[in-house]
Amino acid sequence: MNAHLQPSGSAYFLDTVKPVAETHALAVIVDNEPGVLARVIGLFSGRGYNIESLTVSETQHEKHVSRITIVTSGTPAVIEQIKNQLGRMVPVHSVADLTVQGNALTRELAMVKVSGTGEKRVEALRLADAFRARVIDAGTSSFIFEITGKTDKVEQFISLMVPLGLVEVARTGVAGITRGADGMKV
């Protein structure tokens, strides 16, 4: 009845036609104990899942609870597996799929260093203004911009800076949270 849903080939055959991969942002609440991040990352590398972005920080100091936001990609079945594999880990309290919940906000922050003079410098400043990037450091021949937003906005800003003298970028990776009054189970 559900043969059409099953992957083709044996467990060992590599699929030639891959079902379309989706990108999902997952929020994971974990005990902030030694090795917890290694455990989560090890799950992804060990089982061949992708990590596109990962952020982690303790969010409740008194309970030693951290929140990890992982952006990953895979077929719907793989995404389901990832959530179940995360969910069964001993130090994991809860897992939320921000992408499925649909009403989530995701943001990341980037610091973008641009060096240049004359026309290019003026153009960089003008674009930064349009993207609401802040200047957090300025010298005679360089700027550091701070930009916050969704990943594609950050990406776009960075690519616009390339011809204007982009030197380097530091990015935080994505953090995400759902809208509304409810929070995740801790």
Binding site: N2, Q6, Y12, G35, R39, Q81, N84, G87
Partner: protein
């Protein structure tokens, strides 16, 4: 001074006692000496000194699998810990509850490449259910109790507790196991009742149902096996099981189809392929079971009962997922079944059984009898006949002999069958037998072994001698790594690259060297008497059973084939064996 103040090493022993541990399998070394000193000064916990840390882990697995309790291992830092990795991984894949305590270099030396330092928590992270590095003696007691909780709750598995030597010496406060679970880890054991109703309703519509059960039923405990038997009795559904689940339903039960999978029964695999409703309980659609996935039971609706949500929809999509402990789920299903007075379509079920009987008539385990050489199948058949009325526990190594044991030995009860299923670890069976015998001193414990496998952990015979554990090592000696040789014959033009053991020891002399009893049988006619003799001897025995060298293990689903493409022994003449697997199948393992 409060009475519950003690050293870390004292805490380890106190925690073991409070957890009801009677046996620890271990091996000493510099980083665990304080704990060994405490072992010396008490009598409640017996320590079994193995000969290699891998042996300790498999012994603990045998102990755990045959008792339902948690196995406990104690090893030193560095090489002690790395030697334990195989057994930890084995326990992870077969969901065996185990707590493994490892010594570690003192806290202030961690990270300095100190003598016998290794990153134990780093190395064992992917091969344990969970692990801990204890940095403060005041956390030690809690962590130890938590480790037992995690190892035995939910899907069982191995847990490592790494204790630096200074923490073993330091004094701190001991807390008892009462109320210690885990802050947040609470696996779901009781099913969503909607899922239970959906499962019962689906089964009620079945015309060709089948139960496919696995090691989860054994792990769930004796109640689960009991309820499984009730459920089969009540519904009349045919039942098959994975390698790991043998014994949950009795081999003599009238609904028993035998094991399924790569070397499973023809009737079991055909019934899996043709069923319309499949109830999978405590099994995980492993590749040894499913064969080619896109041809796996194509026309069935599937119910999957598993305590681990990540097992559900992992490789096979199911229609009714039931996240629960098997015993709880079966109890609920039986209750709902009775409350709704469900009956299956009797006529359809009769037709289904007729079809199954047709498959059965193929007699898929048939093999050519031989008067001159002992056929390995015959050896297991005779072993079964002559030991079935004893209080017998069987362990195995890995290879053809393991499959023949699964096919020809018939298990009536759970916890009687110890084998390395998921990892397929050669060298498992002998130390596992040590652990089983330690837990059941009066039982007849037999390792059905292969000549190659048994050499991997042979040194544990010395352990068996030391503790007077009268294990029987019944070697199906074909002088080959038979399973490797079979695959080379099937897949690689019979080029037997390194699958022949050119210099096997004389197992009888080896037995004598260890101080146990060596026996040999070479002719079918002498086999029965020799087996009887082996049973009678109340000491450890190595039995060198010389069997046909080139026998192949059938039936077989070749890799990459479907359940209904099994090859039967009689179908393949020896010269054709090399042609039955196609090029695509040769890529697989």
């Amino acid at each position: 001074m409060a009475t519950n103040e003690m050293t870390g090493a004292e805490m380890v022993l106190k925690a073991l006692q409070d957890q009801g541990v009677d046996t620890v399998f271990g091996y000493p070394g510099g980083a665990v000496l304080p704990i060994y000193d405490e072992i010396f000064q008490q009598e409640k916990v017996e320590h079994i000194l193995v000969r290699h840390e891998q042996g300790a882990t498999h012994a603990a697995e045998g102990y755990a699998r045959s008792t339902g309790k948690c196995g406990v291992v104690l090893v030193t830092s560095g090489p002690g810990a790395t030697n334990a990795v195989t057994g930890l991984t084995d326990a992870l894949l077969d969901s065996i509850p185990m707590v493994c305590i490892t010594g570690q270099v003192p806290t202030h030396l961690i990270g300095s490449d100190a003598f016998q330092e290794c990153d134990t928590v780093g190395i064992t992270r992917p091969c344990t259910k969970h692990n801990y590095l204890v940095k403060d003696v005041n956390d030690l007691a809690r962590i130890l109790h938590e480790a037992f909780y995690v190892a035995t709750h939910g899907r069982p598995g191995p847990v490592v507790v790494d204790i630096p030597k200074d923490v073993q010496f330091a004094k701190g406060r001991y807390v008892g196991p009462k109320n210690i679970e885990h802050k947040t880890y609470r696996p779901q054991v009781k099913a969503d009742q909607n899922a239970i109703r959906a499962a019962v309703e689906l089964i009620a519509t079945a015309k060709r149902p089948i139960l496919y059960t696995g090691g989860g039923v054994i792990n769930s405990g004796p109640t689960a096996s009991k309820l499984l038997r009730d459920f089969v009795e009540m519904t009349g559904i045919p039942i098959t099981s994975t390698l790991m689940g043998l014994g949950a339903y009795p081999a003599s039960g009238k609904n028993w189809l035998g094991m399924l999978g790569m070397h499973g029964m023809y009737e079991a695999n055909m019934a899996m392929h043709d069923c319309d409703v499949m109830i999978c309980a405590g099994a995980r659609f492993d590749d040894r079971i499913t064969g080619r996935l896109n041809a796996f039971s194509p026309n069935s609706k599937k119910i999957h009962i598993d305590i681990d949500p990540s097992s559900i929809n992992k490789t096979v999509r199911v229609d009714v997922p039931v996240v629960a402990d098997v015993a709880h789920a079966l109890e609920d299903m039986i209750r709902v079944w009775k409350a709704k007075s469900v009956t299956l379509d009797k006529k359809a079920l009769d037709t289904w059984w007729k079809q199954i009987d047709g498959w059965r008539a193929k007699d898929c385990l048939r093999y050519k009898k031989n008067d001159d050489v002992i056929m390995p199948q015959y050896a297991v058949e005779r072993l079964y006949e002559l030991t079935k009325n004893e209080n017998t526990y069987i362990t195995t190594e890995v290879g053809q002999h393991q499959m023949w044991a699964a096919q020809f030995y018939r298990f009536e009860e759970p916890n009687r069958w110890m084998t390395s299923g998921g990892l397929g670890t050669m060298g498992y069976g002998l130390p596992a037998a040590v652990g089983v015998q330690q837990a059941h001193p009066d039982a007849l414990v037999i390792d059905i072994a292969g000549d190659a496998s048994v050499l991997m952990t042979m040194q544990e015979m010395s352990t068996a001698i030391q503790y007077e554990l009268p294990i029987k090592i019944f070697i199906l000696n074909n002088q080959y790594m038979g399973m490797v040789r079979q695959w080379q014959q099937l897949l690689h033009g019979n080029r037997l690259s390194h699958s022949y053991t050119e210099a096997l020891p004389d197992f009888v002399k080896l037995a004598e060297a260890y101080g146990c009893v060596g026996m040999r049988a070479t002719k079918p006619l002498e086999l029965d008497d020799a087996i009887r003799e082996m049973i009678k001897v109340k000491r450890p025995v190595i039995f060198d059973c010389r069997v046909a060298a080139l026998a192949n293990c059938f039936p077989m689903i070749p890799s990459g084939k479907a359940h209904n493409e099994m090859i039967l022994g009689e179908d393949v003449a020896d010269e054709d064996v090399g042609t039955v697997i196609d090029a695509k199948g040769k890529m697989l393992v």
